[in-house]
């Protein structure tokens, strides 16, 4: 529309208009050119994982062209998927992630509802506190937590260190603050009239939450669930510190501590393990990308 007015007003601008359109074409070409470069940069490691995972140990040590598979084989996949140890890691990871997601949602959804809707003494301070907790990194807390659990073990005889279920206590410290924070944002965006109507109709606060808020804010719940799952699947520091026996390890730590034996790196199997470890988040991402991105941007844009 703007171009039409320009043409009418001054015919001499026609040249200008032509050059602008040429500029646009060039800008588009440059955009694609750089996007291809960035995409190559982004995808090189995962693609290289895939290439290496299809090679036999003999081919890897023969040092042929590393970017090409000459004799594709599935022996690495067969080797890992029939190894009890590796299946154990996968199982531990899956159990831990599912439990952590459940615990996280059970804690953060009611808390977010109370903080977003039921104003009470200290609720504003608590909401800010939740956000601040989210900013405290796990690398600050792992040493005192390790000592704390050791002391609890000495006092009560409940051994938590070197048991996979200690992770169920630790991971919520990473997932709950963020999930509560984004759920507060989602709940706050629901019109006030909706819950007022529900209360007038005689619904209790719990009913208002389960019958109205959870269904309406369902996209937010999916985003928070995905976040909690991704964080608990990818967490590396806590399992490295708190679990050591091979039957208690989760995927990331298991792959790194058992497949790397001293100086002998079985790269074919390591890359296969890494790819299988990366698969669940990648599959979720492939199917639920929009929720994933909504959760990612919600942390800073909501609230």
């Amino acid at each position: 529309m703007a171009t039409v007015t320009i043409d009418k007003a001054a015919p001499t601008r026609k040249v200008k208009y032509g050059s602008m359109s040429r500029d646009r074409t060039w800008a588009l070409r440059w955009s694609y050119f750089f996007l291809v470069i960035f995409a190559i940069f982004s995808l090189t490691p995962p693609i290289y994982m895939l290439i290496t995972s299809l090679k036999s140990s003999a081919e890897i040590s023969a040092a042929t062209n590393p970017w090409w598979v000459f004799h594709p084989t599935l022996e690495n996949y067969v080797g890992l998927l029939t190894s009890n140890q590796f299946l154990r890691f996968f199982w531990n990871s899956a159990i831990v992630s599912i439990f952590v997601v459940t615990i996280t949602m059970l804690i953060s959804v009611p808390a977010a509802f109370a903080l977003a809707r039921m104003r009470f003494w200290g609720s504003a301070v608590l909401a800010t506190g939740v956000f601040l907790t989210y900013l405290i990194p796990e690398t600050l807390l792992f040493i005192p937590l390790f000592k704390m659990f050791a002391v609890i073990g000495d006092w009560t005889g409940i051994q938590l260190i070197n048991k996979w279920y200690v992770l169920l206590i630790l991971y919520p410290t990473l997932t709950v603050p963020f999930c509560t924070w984004i759920m507060i944002g989602y709940f706050a965006s629901i019109p006030k009239e909706l819950d007022e109507a529900a209360i007038i109709d005689g619904a209790s606060w719990i009913q208002t939450l389960t019958r109205i808020f959870i269904p309406v804010a369902f996209p937010g719940i999916i985003a928070a669930t995905i976040f909690a799952f991704t964080v608990s699947w990818a967490q590396f520091l806590y399992p490295l510190v708190f679990t050591t026996s091979t039957d208690q390890l989760v995927m990331p730590v298991g792959i790194i501590t058992t497949l790397i034996k001293g100086d002998v790196f079985n790269w074919g199997q390591i890359m296969t393990g890494a790819l299988l470890g990366a698969a669940p988040p990648l599959i979720i991402y492939a199917f639920l990308m929009d929720y994933y991105i909504a959760g990612l941007t919600a942390g800073a844009t909501k609230g």
């Binding site: 996007l35 960035f38 995409a39 994982m49 900013l135 792992f142 390790f146 509560t180 606060w205 990366a278």
Partner: protein, 310 residues
């Protein structure tokens, strides 16, 4: 209100004791408190308590039986490795965050430039590094940087560039850990900036174009001021995460060669868990607090400002 209607005939004497409206208010806050109780307990016992416990631990001797005041810190200040770790942490965090922010900004612009139809596909590909668990993708980088089978060195050898000691030489190892961190973190900036770019009203660019602004002026006078808040929050947030990074350095170099790539988190792990000197490890990790606190204060200010605006 429903409670009032239902119970008014049944509990007349109860109503005399205290107003039923008062009781309902009390009930509402009780329910709210019970709903937040698990959250409060979790934060209090597993975040706030350990944070103060770390302060206490830092004042004990290695066997944790004797109070030694600040001598752990004095010991650290006298160690050359400690200052190396401070320097390396700052270089690592600042360089990585700057490059992530700049790269993210550039990529977001290119994605924003292309027709809306194709944006989803590109965005999907470019976000993959952020989705893969960092521990897993760092393994791929470790293999790409392998001293004898490095795929990068293989490729570079065709251009006559000699084998690069990616993780063997101090300077190259620093470069490598920063590169991997940029690779993991740049997509996060890209996605945040892309969301911000989409919220800049098109009329502003039209007005700028009519005033004869070139592309650089449009970025400098329109895009950047409109995105200032989101750039600040994203950068500060990333500064915290990068400063407290563990996975990448641990897997790629484990602090080597000769402690030249250690950052606070990996060095604290080395001393506190592997070296079983818990008090000294706690003291090391406490040095992350000042910078985290400063960044957190600024983030909180920006988040509150956004809250007030909307």
């Amino acid at each position: 209100m429903a409670d009032v209607a239902l119970q008014s005939n049944r509990a007349a004497q109860a109503a005399r004791k205290r107003g039923s409206l008062h009781r309902m208010l009390k009930r509402k806050s009780t329910v709210a408190f019970l709903m937040t109780l698990p959250l409060i307990l979790l934060i209090a016992t597993l975040v706030i308590y350990p944070a103060f416990y770390a302060l206490h631990l830092a004042t004990l001797n290695k066997s944790m039986q004797r109070f030694v005041g600040l001598s752990n810190f004095e010991f650290l200040f006298r160690r050359e490795t400690f200052w190396l770790v401070v320097k390396q942490s700052c270089i690592f965090a600042i360089t990585a965050v700057i490059f992530k922010a700049v790269l993210g900004f550039i990529i977001a612009h290119f994605v924003h430039n292309i027709p809306a139809k194709g944006q989803r596909k590109w965005r999907g590909m470019l976000l993959v590094p952020w989705v893969i668990p960092p521990a897993m993708s760092t393994l791929a980088w470790l293999w790409l940087f392998d001293p004898s089978y490095s795929a990068f060195n293989y490729t570079l050898s065709f251009f006559g560039i000699g084998p690069i000691p990616w993780t063997g030489d101090a300077m190259w190892a620093r470069f490598s850990v920063i590169l991997v961190n940029i690779w993991v973190g740049a997509p996060f900036f890209m996605i945040m900036y892309l969301a911000a770019l989409k919220s800049v009203p098109e009329q502003l660019y039209e007005a700028a174009a009519i005033d004869g602004a070139n592309w650089w002026q449009r970025i400098w006078y329109v895009t950047l001021p409109m995105m200032r808040n989101i750039i600040a929050i994203t950068t500060l947030f990333s500064l915290i995460v990068t400063f407290a990074n563990f996975d990448i350095v641990r897997i790629l170099t484990a602090g080597g060669p000769l402690d030249h790539t250690h950052i606070f988190a990996t060095w604290a792990f080395r001393i506190g868990i592997e070296g079983s000197d818990i008090p000294l490890g706690a003291s090391v990790s406490l040095f992350m607090v000042p910078i985290l606190a400063v960044a957190a204060i600024f983030i909180l200010r920006d988040v509150n400002k956004r809250g007030n605006e909307s």
